[in-house]
């Protein structure tokens, strides 16, 4: 579903991500772990077609992000770590706007908006402008917007930040559901316990370079994911 090959992103003289290669198959939940500034957000944004890049190749469902970004974007959904949404729109206007852009038919959009907004307990607030929403409500709205076109690949940057326990649980269920239907999920997180329980595969990125990658068992062995991660960070320090 997602192939990242020798991806390198530079900001001036600073190399944010250096020669990163990953592959995420259909049905997989892939966790992306690293310290602050390691290059997680840069990678996710490049996959989402937001950040242009010069070196390497990224393919979504076999389509090159660089050569055919619109076709890739039709297949994926991206949720940033801090969902800045259009504050002048109401929740329902925002969702309808996203549905228009993804050209979701009328019946499907009404059905999905109803289903997910009921699930996240947001239905009653859809008439209010986004400016009145809390961080968690914005996060939920961004999630509903991302799910509205049933993406094959869901990209999420720190998706659990700001969500209440029920919403976090519901999101995990949705993630599992997407994978069972043949989709894939690529997300970054600092909550290692969640990654350990939820992910089929995990990659650890350190200063723009891939430090470890594989199935959860391959990466952590007999240790916990937290121990493995801390050992890798300590290696760097020493």
């Amino acid at each position: 579903m997602l192939q990242i090959e020798h991806f390198t992103k530079e900001y001036g003289s600073k190399v944010a991500v250096n020669d990163l290669s990953l592959e995420i198959c259909s049905g997989e939940i892939f966790g992306f772990i690293g310290h602050n500034g390691a290059g997680k957000t840069t990678t996710i944004k490049a996959v989402a077609g937001i950040l242009p890049f010069q070196k390497g190749e990224i393919r979504v469902d076999g389509i090159s992000v660089r050569e055919n970004p619109l076709e890739c974007k039709k297949r994926l959904a991206y949720i940033p770590d801090n969902p800045d949404l259009y504050e002048f729109l109401t929740g329902i206007q925002y969702l309808n706007f996203i549905a228009d852009i993804f050209q979701v038919p009328k019946r499907e959009r009404e059905e999905r908006i109803g289903k997910y907004s009921d699930l996240f307990g947001l239905t009653g607030d859809l008439g209010s402008t986004v400016s009145t929403y809390s961080h968690g409500m914005k996060q939920k709205l961004a999630l509903i917007g991302a799910l509205i076109h049933e993406p094959k690949l869901l990209l999420m940057d720190e998706p659990f930040v700001g969500l209440d326990p029920k919403a976090a649980h519901d999101l995990k269920m949705i993630m599992t559901d997407i994978c069972q239907k043949g989709g894939a999920i690529f997300f970054s997180t600092h909550v290692l316990e969640v990654a350990e329980k939820l992910c089929h595969k995990v990659a650890i990125i350190k200063e723009g370079k891939l430090a470890a990658c594989g199935t959860m068992e391959e990466v952590k062995g007999n240790e916990s994911l937290e121990q493995v991660f801390l050992e890798l960070v300590d290696d760097e320090k020493s």
Binding site: D84, D100, F102, I113
Partner: protein, 530 residues
């Protein structure tokens, strides 16, 4: 005091922070260009106020009423300060985005309020200087006041902006309270209030000459009215002209007392407005409207335009002006047009003059010039969606034309009632301003793609002060002037007005096509790099 200094320093640094493209510093050429434009605007305004003062002093001095020139200057300065501050009150104080952060720090609401008001006061001193430097300069040159005039002047100039600041604060507080109660309806209230204020201002400007004439003719009588109706400005002027200490005290008190009340109101409002919740709209499921992607962008942009009165009135002012002008022509100008039409030399200039006015209005309607910048940190929504740059640009352009075209159409229909114009005139009245408006909208969009400002702290700053908005404003006026001057000095001798309009239509059309192609190629590349 230390906290106040820190807060004020941060606020001023934020106000002066103007990053160039993608956070880089602005180039020297751009700085020079912006500085030149800035100086031009300041020069024009100062010349205007200086000339008004000279006219008033020379007419009123023989009657012993030269103080009225100072009073009129003080009133004009206060009015300018009020108009330019009242909207900043909302964004800077009552709906400040950093309010929660500041309230969580070990600083008192009083210190926060004082730092905010001081930063606005410093801004008002700049506006005040625009009016009072030429007013006082011309007054001193013509009247030659004694030495005691100057120390008093210094104190009074420091106190003068306090009153408009207080009034703007009171109105801002009221609007914030009303907004809290009305929820989404507050934008409509703000729009109506801004429209009403604008029409009053327009009416005042149109009658400015008659007011000045009235002031000169009935100075004695009006001086009593001034004394009773506008005591702060009366005392300001009398203190300076006659050296009256009691008037001096009154003028200072008229500034300080309301400012004290405002300070109390703001520090109270900073907590109150945040601790009470507004009206919540409960959503009831209803059928959703389906649109194609570029129409969805257009609807989203329309919602943004209607949610920001400053955006609508800074970038859509021309459309409103055009309709107001057509109403004036039909309401008051039909007889005048018929009388002018009797003189053949003048008759042939009526349609070109009206065309120039309509083109001016169309050229000042440009919602596209800040539209890319206004995406700000929400740009990810468009960039991560399967939206081609063409759809984004088309949606933004459509909003501009949806605002402009009905205004042009209504104006043409109204002009049709004045019976002074042929069918061809009316068709050209529709086509030329519409195409010029489209050209400026395209230019504004391209300018914003070249000079985006995405890391702003206040949307008002983007709408009012960004490079692309200024480029579109001056570009629009330049295009209108070029068309007018070309007709007046060159084309008029070799072709008729109608033939010239057709030539202008062809030029505008070619310009639009070329700019659209440029936007779809170079502009799209710039968009992809944002």
């Amino acid at each position: 005091m230390r906290n106040l200094k820190i807060l004020l320093a941060v606020k001023l640094r934020g106000a002066l922070y103007a990053p160039g493209r993608r956070g880089k510093k602005a180039s020297l050429g751009r700085k020079i260009l912006m500085g030149f434009l800035f100086l031009y605007v300041i020069g024009v305004m100062m010349a205007l106020f200086g000339a008004t003062t000279a006219g008033l002093v020379s007419s009123l001095a023989p009657l012993g009423l030269s103080w009225m020139a100072l009073a009129v200057g003080a009133f004009s300065s206060a009015a300018l300060c009020f108009i330019l501050t009242v909207f900043s009150m909302q964004s800077q104080i009552f709906q400040a985005k950093d309010g929660d952060l500041l309230l969580s720090l070990p600083v008192t609401p009083l210190q926060i309020a004082a730092s905010r008001l001081l930063s606005l006061l410093l801004l008002e001193y700049a506006y005040n200087a625009l009016v009072m430097i030429p007013t006082v300069g011309v007054y001193c040159y013509l009247v030659r006041p004694g030495l005691s005039f100057y120390p008093m002047l210094l104190v009074l100039l420091l106190a003068l902006p306090l009153l408009p600041l207080s009034l703007a604060g009171a109105v801002g507080y009221l609007l914030a309270q009303v907004g809290r109660l009305l929820g989404r309806g507050k934008n409509i209230i703000m729009l109506l209030l801004t429209a009403a204020a604008f029409l009053v201002y327009l009416y005042f400007c149109m009658n400015l000459n008659s007011y000045i004439t009235l002031l000169i003719q009935r100075g004695e009588e009006l001086s009593h009215v001034f004394r009773k109706a506008m005591p702060p400005f009366y005392h300001f002027a009398i203190a300076l002209e006659q050296g009256s200490f009691s008037s001096f005290l009154w003028a200072v008190l008229w500034g300080i007392l309301p400012a004290g009340v405002l300070l109390w109101l703001v520090q109270k409002g900073f907590l109150d407005l945040r601790s009470t919740s507004g009206v919540k709209a409960v959503y009831r499921k209803k059928p959703l409207r389906v649109s194609c992607p570029w129409v969805a962008v257009c609807r989203k942009e329309g919602a943004r335009l209607l949610s920001m009165p400053t955006y609508l009135f800074n970038c859509g002012i021309g459309a409103l002006l055009m309709v107001a002008m057509a109403v004036m022509v039909v309401w008051k100008g039909t007889d005048a047009l018929q009388a002018l039409g009797a003189v053949p030399q003048i008759q042939e200039l009526i349609a070109p003059a009206l065309m120039a006015a309509m083109c001016f209005c169309a050229a000042t309607t440009c919602t596209t010039s800040p539209s890319i910048s206004l995406e700000g940190n929400r740009l990810w929504v468009l960039r991560s969606s399967p939206l081609s740059p063409r759809d984004v640009f088309l949606g933004k352009l459509a909003v501009n034309m949806i605002l402009l075209l009905p205004a042009v159409a209504v104006s043409v229909i109204l002009l049709a009632f004045s019976k002074g114009f042929s069918l061809l005139d009316l068709v050209l009245f529709f086509l030329v301003p519409s195409l010029l408006g489209l050209l400026i909208a395209l230019f504004g969009l391209y300018a914003n793609l070249l000079w985006p400002r995405l890391d702003y702290t206040s949307e008002n700053a983007v709408v009012k002060q960004s490079a692309s908005v200024m480029a579109a404003s001056f570009g629009g006026m330049g295009a209108m002037l070029a068309l007018s001057l070309c007709y007046w000095f060159l084309a008029r001798k070799v072709m008729s007005y109608h033939v010239y309009c057709f030539c202008a239509l062809v030029v505008l059309m070619v310009g639009c096509i070329l700019l659209w192609r440029l936007i779809l190629t170079k502009g799209a590349e710039e968009y992809e790099q944002l």
